[in-house]
């Protein structure tokens, strides 16, 4: 089954068996790309959307000097360019970070689903709104948090997203990203990321071993990140550490 992680454990939006079967039937192709491959470029007309099955992908923008800002990271279960269905072109590039397997869903199929199953279209809409919520959190991260807070926030968010997708036990998860990737996510230099990772380790908040992340002190890391997972709309986020922001 290709859709088992899509909207898994999302509040009020998880798929029922019929909805899952309909999306499975809409898939026209399953492809695997090597790491660091561009699969959609800004401005190119698109006729398909992409469901990520395995691996990690990114959306990014480059500045005039060619320096990159990753503006979104996608994990298995993310329908990562569903917004291309109404927009038809993207305003950013999409690329793999690791080897990635994706399922392609033609826009014509999404059009058919809209007619046949309006409640399912509402859930696809939910998925794009979830992307927007994550973008807001990324703005908060870059606008309000210091270097340690930014990395801590990304790790808390990733843990929560992977927990929801069934790929973290709530404290430990695989994350095959480089320090350069983290730098491009957090708006830091690679050496700054290296220093932050050491600080997080020395403060016994988080450990990094090759491509594994272990959160040693979930509450401490969430506090450093000012992280509250409410924006991820996870059905049961009671196991995830959180801080309350002032109202």
């Amino acid at each position: 089954m290709f859709t088992e992680r899509f909207l898994r454990d999302k509040r009020g939006a998880s798929l029922d068996a019929n909805e899952r079967a309909r999306i499975e039937a809409a898939i026209s192709e399953v492809k695997t790309f090597g790491p660091r491959k561009i699969i959609a470029r800004a401005g190119e007309p698109l006729t398909n959307s992409t469901l990520l099955l395995e691996g990690i992908m990114s959306r990014y923008l480059d500045d005039r000097n060619g320096l990159r800002q990753l503006v979104a990271i996608h994990f298995p279960g993310d329908f990562l360019d569903l917004h291309a269905f109404p927009l038809k072109v993207l305003d950013h590039d999409v690329a793999t970070l690791t080897t990635a397997t994706v399922a392609t869903v033609p826009h014509a199929e999404i059009e058919a689903i809209a007619k046949e199953m309006p409640q399912l279209i509402r859930k696809l809409w939910f998925a794009t709104l979830l992307d927007a919520a994550i973008h807001r959190a990324w703005l908060f991260r870059l606008g309000r948090l210091d270097a340690t807070g930014r990395v801590a926030h990304f790790l808390c968010e990733t843990n929560a997203r992977l927990f929801s997708a069934g790929l973290s036990d709530g404290r430990r998860f695989a994350l095959a990203l480089t320090q350069a990737d983290l730098a491009e996510i957090c708006g830091l230099t690679t050496v700054h990321v290296n220093r932050v990772m050491r600080q997080l380790r020395e403060e016994q908040l988080c450990l990094f071993r090759s491509s594994l992340v272990e959160i040693l002190d979930p509450a401490g890391l969430a506090a450093r990140a000012q992280f509250n997972p409410a924006y991820l709309y996870i059905a049961d986020d009671s196991q995830l550490p959180s801080v309350q922001r002032p109202r």
């Binding site: 870059l142 606008g143 210091d146 270097a147 340690t148 930014r150 230099t189 050496v191 700054h192």
Partner: protein
Amino acid sequence: MMRDATDQLQPETQPGIATAEGGLVFLDGPDSIATTMTPEAAAATGQSLIDAAATAERQQAERDV
């Protein structure tokens, strides 16, 4: 509920902390400032800050007259 205007972003009153490591300067804070500089860029930035601070103090003094 929106915060009062007095709660909104104000000029920073706490200094950023600069540290050196591995031949580079790291500036963490205040708030969301997080940058890495070469020693030359850091020294020039520091001088620029000192000069601007002196100018701002003069402006405050002129305003208070």
